[in-house]
Symmetry: C2
Subunit: 130 residues, 2 copies
DNA sequence: CCCGTAATGATACTTGATTATCATTTCTCA
DNA sequence: TGAGAAATGATAATCAAGTATCATTACGGG
């Protein structure tokens, strides 16, 4: 058998599934460590690799040098990246009029939209007003 | 004087300015090497650093693990990344309705849109029909 | 045209992300 | 329950991007 059910595996899956947006490997480690304190980063990468190969998870790049992982079953959506706390959130809905942005002859297959700003929590704890 | 006009400097600037979209350091090296065959990658990075610090050039990230450099004076635009040849192109025009994609309480400062597909040249040299 | 200094290029180094290794642990099924 | 194999965790290895070093080259003012 090649896929045993271990607590590490289920913790990592659970963390990715319940996140409000794509996660860094480090974030996955931190969150899953609450359930499995001995969890190591190698195991996180191992499962990420399996999950990607099985098509359950995919990598997305927000900004430069920023690779995060998300479940593939969330349908078409985009991302919001909070510049204050660094957390990423899925956003739904999609900007229109994309097809006519490209030069004639180009073929558009997909698009990725990332919004940058401050998330609700960071806006609320308004440090500029403190 | 801290900024001599060398042929390397002008070649690098020229290459970045005349590109149809943001370039990798490697691409900059390759293109500028046509004008200055002895050019080294260290010089490319040195000038990229200066150009970023002086605000003439900025880094953009398209997809995962992909950092490219573009002039800052091109106004608001987005990017198209050809999956076949790997070249990036600026696209003008901008998708609307972005503000109401985010949850209430979030503050949007900027957005980046990347289109993926095949560029005109790759579509024309249609290898699927060959 | 010459000199001093900034720029250059080769390369070693650093850094961070990811992967491989390997001894140990722990599922699973008999 | 016990054996065997897969999974784990610590850490070494790898890899690529970018930076620092340093001897050499080449602008450009005099």
């Amino acid at each position: 058998m090649s896929t045993r059910v271990t607590c590490q595996r289920s913790a990592i899956g659970e963390v990715i599934r319940s996140a409000p947006g794509p996660l860094h490997p480090r974030e996955i480690l931190n969150l899953a460590s609450r359930m499995v304190p001995t969890l190591g980063i190698a195991t996180v990468y191992r499962h990420l690799k399996h999950l990607r190969e099985s098509g359950e998870v995919r990598a997305v790049g927000l900004g430069r040098n920023d690779v995060r992982y998300e479940p593939t079953d969330r349908g078409h959506h985009h991302h919001f990246l909070c510049r204050e706390c660094g957390e990423a959130f899925d956003v739904h809905g999609c900007a229109g009029g994309i097809a006519n942005m490209v030069p004639p002859g180009f073929e558009v297959q997909e698009h990725e939209l990332t919004l940058f700003g401050r998330c609700g929590e960071c806006v609320t704890s308004e440090r500029t007003a403190g």
